[in-house]
Amino acid sequence: MFEYIVKRLLFAVPILIGVNVITFSLFFMVNTPDDMARAQLGAKQTTPEMIQSWKVENGYDKPLFFNGDASGLDKIQHTLFVQESLKLFAFDFGQSDSGRQISADIQERMGPSLAIALPTFIIGLVTNIALALLIVLFRGSRLDTITMMVAVAIMSVSGLFYIIAGQVLFSKTWHWVPISGYAEGWEGIKFLILPVLIGVFAGIGAGMRWYRSIFLEEMSKDYVRTAKAKGLTDIKVLFGHVLHNGMLPILTGVVVVIPTLFMGSLIMESFFGIPGLGSYTIDAINAQDFGIVKAMVFLGSVLYIIGLILTDISYTLFDPRVKLS
């Protein structure tokens, strides 16, 4: 097991390098060190000498990918790309345009992000699976058809509408919860209720359909027929056999998501004024702060890869047939 994890982590390195190449090219091709120098030095007359000295000071005077002046390995090592990527691998994201340490900001903002993403995820998962099981009990009936129609309708509404409608109804008209804001600890619950509820509701349509199709697929298998032939009731078959066996396909879809919960939700957080990583990213995008966007891209990929590894490990826990090698 340990060996396998180490191997998978090593496989992650080329992927992360690839991610870096993509982001690095995207950022430096357009926002060259010269542009950065000009932006940092301000609007006053900047001479080429000033730009050059700024670049030397900040370490941006090296070529992008390949250093022809150096010898041996240094040809690749003494480049902006290696220098910038190594920093990222050490989770040193540098400073944002406003002069704050990005790593410290990220650590600080992970909490609020999780406070909203984790409850949404868990409540959503339980609700969706419970509803799907319930609807599988009534499969083929009119209730099933109508529920599926409603699910498609729920899916067809943009998440933005749910948020706006929720805020208008629950906060503006009925004054049940504050429109937006955030507080630490138990105080903060009143701020979290609405975003979590909206998040859960917006996901019901797609989630319920997905779990229903998984359970229906299980229901058509031989062991279910055998169990029924033995005289087990529908409910016993569903909860005793189908739920357990359906966990495998569910795991594939669900475990990958767990680490990325840290990233927060862009839209939820910015609508509800929650100081998490999602609103951090949106602010950075709007302010065109490339350092933060780059850091978030890297963090996102790392979390995604961790998610993939966790998925494989969870398989061995739930399915004894799967052996990691």
């Binding site: 991610v19 995207l26 498609v152 943009s158 933005l160 509408f161 208008v168 839209i267 949106i282 995008i285």
Partner: protein, 470 residues
């Protein structure tokens, strides 16, 4: 007046040509015809298909652009003031509904209103200042106050209703006549020898949907001459006009992105599955890497770069329309480049499976080149996957546009889009009293499109996906 071909126009018409070509070649295949018949046999799918083609029609009408030139100096002032509205790049749709575009008010007004939504200061002749609801310039100007607005609207509904009945009757007559021609006159024979009523397409649902759509369209069109049916926005522009203009943006993002994504997914997916070995490794590495970057962030990063590039090279573009169009094109390309991975993985897995089958082995033994085998034996067997992925992606992309516009990395702020409308409406909802109609219009137009696309894709999946039995 001369034609202007924006980049997205060219692409969307190319797509239409490709689709026509595809339909013509598909008609020859008995099997595919049966599949499509099967898809449309469901009343829901039939209605959804009609709704989708209505949206497509609007998008296409809005994709033919003309350049209006400035009037010559010797034309009369009246003509010139008219011509001010007729400047710049206009689409066929703009020309069909000129009153929607030109009849702008000063500021907000509610649907069917005759006066502005909020009070403004007014000085009467004696110099007394008062707060009044100013009357609108265009909306409800025929209204004399004798009847209520509701009565007026009811009366005015009769004409579109009659019009719709006539149109439907004409379509029905053509339909019957077509069936008559097809059967070469043996009409009664033909209908008596119908094998099974279950093999008929659901014409009832089709006519019902058509009736509703044509009625809605003519109702909006007719009443928009008298009122601002969906109100006006902050700068007094008709919300109905914005919502209609947004159709193009939404449909184009849904359609053209697939055009960008498809070749990538097909070529890479099939070569990975067929050639295996290092080709497979490289392609797998490529899509795992792309997949591991959070989608919105990758799009945001690419769009940010594009914005910087456009800002640095503003001399590339002749007009604001061209700039906005190029931004839309870039967005479509970026969405396409980030969304091919899912389909690619599916195609790779299916190709791996198919290339083990006997007929491919036989083809190899006969000495067919890999290219021929892929073209003749593998690609046709992947088409159902491609089709399912395309219709599935469409609704997701339409929804994504709204989110991206909200994040600030969507289409140009000057482009009409539902995302931009929602974005603006967010602030309007906080006003007192609430300005709800912009949000409502964007919601209604978007929901109809996405719901139709979802229902249609559901049906396509049920018919084409051999694994889906439910």
């Amino acid at each position: 007046m001369s034609f202007v071909w924006l980049w997205t126009d060219i692409l969307v018409w190319t797509l239409v040509l490709v689709l026509i070509g595809a339909v013509r070649s598909i008609r020859r295949s008995e099997q595919i015809r049966k599949q499509w018949f099967n898809i449309l046999k469901s009343p829901v799918a039939m209605s959804a298909a009609i709704v989708l083609s209505f949206y497509l029609l609007f998008a296409l009408l809005d994709s033919v652009h003309f350049q209006y030139t400035q009037p010559t100096s010797d034309s009369s002032t009246e003509q010139r003031s008219l011509a001010v509205h007729e400047q710049g790049v206009l689409s066929l749709l703009d020309i069909l509904v000129p009153h929607l575009r030109t009849q702008t008010e000063r500021t907000y007004s509610a649907p069917f209103a005759t006066h502005e939504y909020s009070t403004s200061l007014s000085y009467d002749e004696s110099g007394v200042v008062s707060q009044v609801y100013r009357p609108l310039q265009f909306g409800g100007q025929h209204w004399t106050g004798k009847h209520s607005i509701l009565d007026d609207v009811m009366v005015k509904t009769a004409i579109p209703f009659l019009f719709t009945c006539i149109i439907i009757a004409i379509i029905f007559a053509i339909h019957l006549g077509w069936g008559f021609l097809k059967t070469r006159g043996n009409y009664i024979d033909y209908y008596e020898n119908q094998p099974d009523p279950k093999d008929e397409l659901p014409w009832g649902a089709a006519y019902f949907t058509l009736f509703v759509l044509i009625f809605l369209f003519s109702w909006f069109f007719y009443l928009s001459h008298y009122y601002h049916v969906l109100g006006t926005d902050k700068v007094g522009q008709d919300v109905l006009y914005q919502a209609i203009k947004s159709i193009r943006t939404g449909v184009l993002i849904g359609l053209l992105t697939t055009l960008v994504m498809l070749p990538l997914a097909l070529i890479l997916g099939i070569s990975a599955g067929y050639f295996k070995g290092w080709v497979d490794d490289v392609i797998q590495y490529l899509y795992t890497t792309l997949n591991s970057i959070p989608g919105v962030l990758l799009i945001a990063a690419a769009v940010l770069m594009m914005q910087v590039m456009i800002a640095n090279n503003s001399d590339w573009f002749g007009s604001t329309e061209e700039r906005a169009d190029l931004r839309l094109l870039f967005l479509i390309f970026i969405l396409g480049l980030t969304s091919w991975t899912g389909l690619c993985r599916l195609l790779r897995a299916e190709t791996l499976k198919i290339s083990q089958v006997e007929y491919v082995t036989a083809a190899k033994a006969f000495g067919l080149s890999p290219f021929r085998i892929i073209q003749k034996h593998i690609t046709p067997n992947l088409m159902h996957l491609v089709l399912i992925a395309l219709v599935l992606d469409f609704s997701g992309l339409v929804l994504a546009e709204a989110v991206l516009s909200y994040v600030g990395v969507g289409v140009d702020p000057t482009t009409a889009s539902w995302g931009n409308m929602i974005n603006q409406a967010r602030l309007e909802m906080a006003r007192e009293p609430m300005v709800w109609w912009s949000l409502f219009s964007a919601f209604a137009f978007m929901f109809t499109l996405v719901l139709a696309a979802n229902l249609f894709s559901d049906r396509v999946q049920t018919v084409l996906d051999p694994r889906r039995k439910h």
